[in-house]
């Protein structure tokens, strides 16, 4: 197993896509995220790691305002995408979510055909002028989701009939079909077997060329394999953030080191 090998990658410094400043999140009285400030770069895979309940998923869901659907959840502080505050009163969360796609922990295709799954987003956003246009968008999205070859002959078969890994890649295709600028992934491989995981990881690396990808993962190997930047969360705090290779080889904070070496978690 060379999984633990830290890939020596040339890390370009890209421009900042998402900038969070002093973000606080409360679930009722529970202070879930404390003073998190982070700058996430464009065309980079950023991994959020940390033990369960540390707030990494919560923070991820702040970036496309999915937390709005939870009644008791309150968010304070600023999150800027391309310099615009997404929590501004003028921002419509629906419009934001078209720009910030999301892939969930459990593959959740709609109980519709593969084609309809991918076409749904472009349809509701009016991205296709006609049927041929929509066909192109669907094909492109499925190609980018690295699943085109497997499903091109059965586009009208139900999406729920695919295997777990295929379903997750379908969900990724569905997310990229709306042409987002940021792609959020909440433990996208936790329900997948190692082979499907490898395929999805390969895909993530591919997606990096076009998007800013933020991935929450429980697997440190996965963070090491796919990401350029890593953020370590612990008990609602952002403990350490930096180049993935640095975090894994030279952690500054003792908590990071303990987590990586398996002493806390």
């Amino acid at each position: 197993m060379n999984d633990m090998r830290i890939v020596e990658r040339k890390v370009d410094t890209n421009e900042v896509k998402i900038a969070a400043k002093d973000v606080q999140v409360f679930y009722g009285d529970n202070h879930a995220i404390k003073d998190v400030s982070v700058e996430i770069e464009d065309k980079t895979v950023t991994a959020f790691i940390g033990p369960s309940g540390c707030g990494k998923s919560t923070f991820l869901r702040c970036i496309n305002r999915m937390n709005d659907t939870i009644d008791v959840c309150r968010v304070k502080g600023d999150i800027l995408i391309d310099g615009e505050d997404i929590y501004d009163a003028k921002v419509d969360p629906v419009q934001l979510r078209a720009k910030v796609g999301m892939v969930f922990q459990k593959p959740n295709p709609f109980p519709k055909s593969i084609y309809d799954n991918v076409a749904y987003g472009p349809k509701i956003h009016g991205l296709a002028k006609n049927k041929a246009d929509l066909d192109d968008i669907v094909e492109n999205a499925l190609r980018r989701g690295a699943i085109w070859d497997e499903v091109k002959d059965r586009l009208h078969a139900p999406g729920t009939g695919l295997s777990g890994g295929q379903q997750q890649r379908l969900c990724i295709a569905r997310a990229v079909a709306t042409e987002p600028e940021v792609l959020l992934m909440d433990e996208p491989c936790s329900a997948l077997d190692p082979i499907a995981t490898a395929q999805v990881e390969e895909l993530i690396d591919e997606l990096r060329k076009s998007y800013s990808v933020v991935i929450v993962t429980h697997s440190m190997q996965q963070a090491a394999r796919v990401s350029q930047k890593t953020a370590f969360f612990h008990l609602g705090n952002l403990v350490e953030y930096g180049e993935t290779s640095n975090i894994f080889t030279n952690p500054v904070d003792p908590r990071t080191e303990s987590y990586i070496t398996g002493r806390i978690g």
Binding site: M66, T69, V94, G101, F104, N108, G121, R174
Partner: protein, 443 residues
């Protein structure tokens, strides 16, 4: 890892064989067997009641679907017609012609029974009027053989259905023991016999003294219009309320209160809705009494909680991941509900609605108070709007009315009405099952 360091106890372990059950296992197995027996016994008792219910309904109700008729064919000559029309008591004259024809036919078949015109009257009533009006309307049929099917009186009907025997017959002005001899002779001659009683299904209610002519048709129409009102009010209102409460409403004390009260509403006795309907729709709003519209409104109030509860349950059963998926690709809340959640909840909603409707269809108590029970539905509504606003009865109300009438013939009709009502209910439940099968999608 403290478990691994635990040392095994030194006490010698008793050797046990897998081939022999120990006492504890035997006890547990016995308990399980006993529990299964209880379950099977419970199901058997349930089935027994069901069989008992159905046999008693069918036994008592099926005779309502047959009607004893006197089937007689005779020719009226032009001469007879002219003579009868010239008399003062025209129908009486036709009655005589009819009696003569009957006795001729009995003689022709070599059956010798003595009878008088009164006996015929007790058996088939006075069909003179029917015969006269037929020939007045169809003068071209004079001189040709015409066959008449005349309903026998309810007592004769009862004799044929076994509701009454020679032993139980008490001589009265309705039927004498000697009449039964005539009836037997007529049966032998093939003149009197049972026929399927279409009038029971298509006819309207009759007066209290004529159970033979009573039909459920008008009240079926009444029920149909009530169900239209219930369906078109309670489905949209119920589904809209549930979607709002389940998907949009903030969870706070007010929505909790509303929720509790909707559940309470489902348990309110139906007669309460009846008196509410009387007070609000008839006395306050001035809607017509006994109208299916008012019945429908009252039953809507009663059905709403059922629909809301079942709709909310089926909405809540849609996995949240579907909502996340829709929101994640930038669908609005409403798009996510209408494009994804609602289609998945549809089978449950439809089932709930149909079960609510079936419940409303069989409901009698509220109709009691708005005047649908006791109303004698003698006519079909003439127009579509009239179907809602004209006074009418409804199936359960009609059954209740019949059951409370004195003539035992009506008792039989009440059972027959129950059979028709049950057929409707079974059909509706079957539709619910089919719809659920069709719309069911796995996720």
């Amino acid at each position: 890892m403290t478990d691994a360091s635990m040392t095994p106890t030194d006490a010698p372990k008793k050797k046990s064989s897998l081939m022999a059950q120990d006492a504890r296992t035997r006890k547990r197995n016995a308990a399980e067997t006993r529990f299964r027996m209880y379950g099977m016994a419970a199901i058997a008792v349930g089935l027994l009641f069901l069989v008992f219910l159905f046999t008693s309904i069918l036994r008592s109700g099926l005779p309502a679907f047959t009607q004893t008729v006197v089937d007689i064919e005779f020719t009226l000559t032009q001469e007879q017609f002219d003579t009868a029309e010239s008399k003062m008591l025209k129908t009486g004259e036709y009655q005589k012609i009819f009696v003569n024809a009957l006795s001729e036919q009995l003689d022709a078949r070599g059956l010798d029974v003595a009878f008088d015109a009164k006996a015929i009257q007790r058996i088939v009533g006075k069909p003179g009027g029917t015969i006269r009006s037929f020939f007045l309307e169809n003068p071209d049929r004079i001189g040709t053989p015409v066959s008449f099917e005349l309903a026998a009186s309810s007592r004769v009907d009862g004799y044929f259905n076994g509701r009454m025997t020679r032993d139980t017959l008490v001589d009265s002005r309705f039927l004498m023991a000697t009449d039964l001899d005539l009836v037997d002779a007529l049966e032998e001659a093939g003149i009197i016999g049972g026929a399927f009683n279409w009038n029971f299904i298509t006819g309207t209610d009759s007066g209290v003294d004529n159970p033979g002519g009573a039909g459920l048709g008008a009240s079926v129409i009444g029920s149909f219009f009530m169900m239209l009102v219930v369906l078109f009010l309670s489905l949209p209102i119920g589904v809209a309320a549930s979607i709002y409460l389940e998907e949009f409403a903030p969870k706070n004390r007010w929505t909790d209160l509303i929720e509790v009260n909707i559940s309470n509403l489902a348990a309110v006795p139906s007669i309460v809705f009846g008196i509410l309907g009387l007070a609000v729709f008839i006395q306050f709003a001035g809607f017509p009494q006994s109208a299916p519209l008012v019945g429908g409104l009252v039953l809507t109030l009663m059905t709403l909680p059922t629909i809301i509860i079942s709709t909310r349950a089926s909405l809540a059963a849609v996995p949240p991941s579907i909502r996340d998926a829709a929101l994640g690709v930038g669908a609005s809340k409403m798009q996510s509900v209408f494009h994804h959640v609602l289609p998945l909840a549809m089978p449950g909603i439809l089932t709930g609605t149909i079960i609510g409707l079936a419940q409303a269809l069989g409901e009698t108590a509220p109709l009691l108070l708005i005047g649908m029970v006791g109303f004698v539905a003698r006519e079909y509504p003439e127009t579509f709007v009239g179907g809602f606003t004209d006074a009418n009865s409804a199936m359960p109300a009609q059954i209740y009315t019949w059951a409370s009438r004195a003539d035992p013939g009506f008792y039989e009709k009440a059972w027959g009405g129950i059979i028709i009502l049950l057929l409707f209910l079974i059909t509706m439940n079957a539709i619910a099952v089919v719809l659920r099968r069709r719309f069911e999608r796995r996720w």
